[in-house]
Amino acid sequence: MNTEVSILYFAKSAELTGLKSEIITVSSNVTSEQLWQHLEEKHPRLTVIRDQVVLAVRQEYVPLSGQPLTLREGDEVAVIPPLSGG
């Protein structure tokens, strides 16, 4: 079953995609790896932050793995690369 979720882009990921947020349709039992892959296909420039990105679903950290996410309609997925400035 497909579901609509909002992707929120922070810091470098907002710069790379040119977006602060977008709504995408994905399978509700997509894994975090597949979801990231999907985002990379949509925004190829995201590839460079793959190894540093923190992905959070419903305000909770999820590692990039093969575990299904069980997304629900309207869930927020945050893409959070680290900031290092001060």
């Binding site: 710069e15 923190v54 305000q59 950290y61 290092s84």
Partner: protein, 389 residues
């Protein structure tokens, strides 16, 4: 009658002038006294242990009365603050407000570390430095401001670059470390040194209109490496000197950092050992992400660590431990045109096309009249979208 009044006023004026001169002399002496007390450290030495307090003096009670009233702090919490030492790594946009609030609140000892000197472009966010301290080491400038605010704080300014050679010796002398640095290699270095010496690391960062905050290596929470095992490729890192930052944003993050340091130092614990707080100044919004506990497989805080002593962090990250000179990808000398060569082209009226591909803000700051602006980033993005459709 009139003459009498004039005479009286003149006498009064003289008296006031005398008082003023007296005050100026006193101020001068105190400032000199302060600068004698705060010796600038250019290398790491072992400090005498912090004098331990069990009670508050009358002056302490007056000074801290408004926070002593809080049941969360109380006398015990205030005494505890006065017995704690905090190392502030970086006296910039985060470190300045952080150090200011820690000093105001009565932390016992403050180590202020920065290798840099105060520049004019720092003053919009590094609020302890002033026009009068331009060119001074930031550590010294910050220490001066701190001692004027609270002379009871033992302030230790370090004008040096934190390195694999000195970090352990320095950090093990402090109870809590605040990472207020401006570059990736220093963030890994401070993290590893805190894990190896068992110190809580209150870490914040800021860029443009955004900020992040987490407490690492504290009560079973993750360390920086648990969250970011591998450093970002150097050319993907944007720092404040090329990305820009609105001064109040690191100010907000530095204040939040101060709050967490004070909670830990007074024994209340922190709210962020398994949380990543994000601040979006554009939307005026805070978000908090729940993090995992520390990772068994972490290279430094895991069960079988591979990092058991400090490394070469500049090599590990492929970038220098500064926010200044980024590694640039320049064209070869033959492919470039110098300003002198371009002047010749202009002077000889050689037909040419000059494209200015810099971002809009840079063009707004200054541009050549003979150029046509053509924003490379915008074009690249558009092109990317087009190729996708």
């Amino acid at each position: 009658m009139m003459d009498d009044e004039i005479a009286i006023l003149k006498t009064k004026l003289l008296e006031k002038e005398g008082e003023l001169a007296d005050l100026k002399r006193k101020l001068d002496q105190m400032e000199k006294g302060n600068s004698r007390l705060t010796v600038l450290h250019e290398s790491v030495t072992d400090l005498p242990p912090l004098k331990s307090h069990t009670t508050l003096s009358n002056e302490d009670i007056m000074r801290y009365s408004r926070q002593l009233l809080l049941p969360e702090l109380g006398v015990q919490g205030q005494v505890s603050l006065s017995n704690k030492s905090v190392l502030v790594v970086g006296c910039g946009g985060l470190g300045c407000p952080l150090a200011q609030y820690l000093a105001a609140a009565g932390i016992g000892r403050l180590g202020l570390l920065d290798y840099d000197v105060v520049e004019l472009s720092n003053l919009h966010r590094q609020v302890l430095h002033t026009e009068l301290t331009l060119g001074q080491p930031k550590a010294l400038s910050a220490a001066g401001a701190i001692s004027r605010l609270n002379s009871a704080i033992h302030c230790v300014p370090y004008h040096l670059q934190l390195s694999r050679e000195n970090a352990i010796q320095l950090i093990q002398q402090y109870d809590i470390v605040a990472d207020c640095s401006d570059n990736v290699p220093t963030r890994y270095l401070v993290n590893d040194a805190c894990v190896l010496t068992g110190k809580p690391l209150v870490s914040a960062s800021a860029l443009r209109m955004e900020g992040q905050l987490t407490v690492y290596n504290y009560r079973g929470g993750p360390c920086y490496r648990c969250l970011y095992p591998s450093p970002p490729p150097a050319d993907t890192v944007t720092n404040c000197s090329d990305g820009g930052v609105l001064g109040v944003v690191p100010g907000i993050m530095g204040c939040l950092q101060a709050l967490e340091v004070l909670k830990i130092a007074s024994g209340q614990g922190s709210s962020f050992e398994k949380q990543l707080l994000m601040f979006d100044g554009q939307e005026g919004r805070f978000r908090s992400i729940r993090l995992r506990a520390k990772q068994a497989g972490c290279a430094v805080c895991g069960e079988t660590p591979t990092v058991t002593k400090l490394q070469d962090y500049e090599r590990f990250c492929g970038s220098a431990a500064t926010d200044k000179c980024r590694r640039l990808n320049l064209l070869t000398k033959e492919q470039r045109v110098s300003v002198q060569e371009y002047k010749e082209i202009l002077d000889s009226s050689t037909p040419h096309l000059l494209l200015d591909v810099r971002p809009k803000v840079e063009v707004d700051i200054c541009c050549l009249k003979t150029s046509i602006t053509f924003h490379l980033l915008v074009w690249r993005r558009r092109n990317l979208n087009r190729s996708r459709c």
